[in-house]
């Protein structure tokens, strides 16, 4: 079993928002980190955790495209605590749909979404401690750099 490919992720998000979304594997990570959204998934029947860690500018831009809201406003609303429902719901849906390309044969269910990684419980929390379990992707939407998405799992 292998992790999702950049091609599969690009295809999925491009279909979702009807704009060119390009994922490419990142070998080096930027020094400055953006605020992140963490989506925790569980494969069935194995019960294996997978985490998608998405930079807020990326996932807010996706949410904005889904509901017709400019990216800067979606980002502003996504940064509130608690996150505004108007962007929380489309972000959750985008991450829910992302489950379709995270594992080849297994069923994958989105179990939680949070901006606070301290809320992620064992066994998924173990993935955050192992940098080697992450596949990192740079994401560009319609030619604009929107940050990083990392997929953490035991593939």
């Amino acid at each position: 079993m292998s992790g999702p490919t950049a091609f599969a992720l690009s295809h999925l998000f491009t279909d979702l928002v009807d704009r060119p979304v390009n994922f490419s594997e990142a070998k080096t990570l930027p020094a400055a980190e953006a605020k992140k959204v963490y989506a925790v998934y569980e494969t069935l029947p194995a019960g294996r955790p997978i985490i998608v860690q998405a930079d807020l500018p990326f996932i807010a831009a996706i949410a904005g495209l889904l509901i017709g809201m400019p990216a800067n406003i979606a980002l502003e609303r996504a940064q509130t605590e608690p996150m505004e429902d108007s962007v929380r719901d489309p972000i959750y849906e985008a991450l829910n749909i992302c489950s379709t390309c995270l594992s080849g044969d297994e069923r994958v269910l989105l179990r939680m979404m949070t901006t606070n990684k301290m809320k992620i419980l064992h066994p998924a929390s173990e993935l955050l401690k192992k940098s080697g379990s992450a596949i990192n992707y740079k994401v560009v939407i319609s030619g604009k750099d929107c940050g990083l998405v990392s997929v953490l799992g035991v593939y």
Partner: protein, 121 residues
């Protein structure tokens, strides 16, 4: 009512409605339910011509909604639109009497291909 959309996500209901319009179903009367219980009472009261439901919803799964609808001897065309993509889930849906199964993300073309045998524009 022509189509009853069942999804706990308001965003997803809006996206499906937009895709329906883009697919040419803009003149249909579309009702919305945010959960299975609400959908069940709307099926009884409004008698939609087609039900389009999510699979994973709190309180009542889409498959349980389908079973309850069929349990009332209601043969309304019932399709799923879901992020579930496994073959097992699809087979379960079809065995229980689903008319079609659309995997998210969907396009207006996917929607049209699934609905066309059951719905006129």
């Amino acid at each position: 009512m022509d189509i009853l959309l069942v999804d706990d996500s308001k965003t997803m209901r809006q996206l499906v409605k937009r895709a329906l319009r883009q697919a040419g179903y803009e003149n249909l009367q579309i009702g919305e339910a945010g959960n299975g219980a609400e959908a069940l009472s709307m099926v009884q009261a409004e008698q939609p011509k087609l039900v389009l439901s999510d699979w994973n919803m709190p309180e009542m799964l889409g498959i349980d909604l389908l079973k309850r609808v069929r349990g009332q001897n209601c043969q309304v065309p019932f399709g799923f639109i879901t992020s579930e993509s496994s073959e097992d889930i699809r087979e379960t849906a079809m065995k229980e009497g689903a008319s079609f199964f659309i995997t998210k993300p969907f396009t207006p073309e996917n929607i049209d291909a699934a609905l066309a045998p059951h719905m006129s524009k």
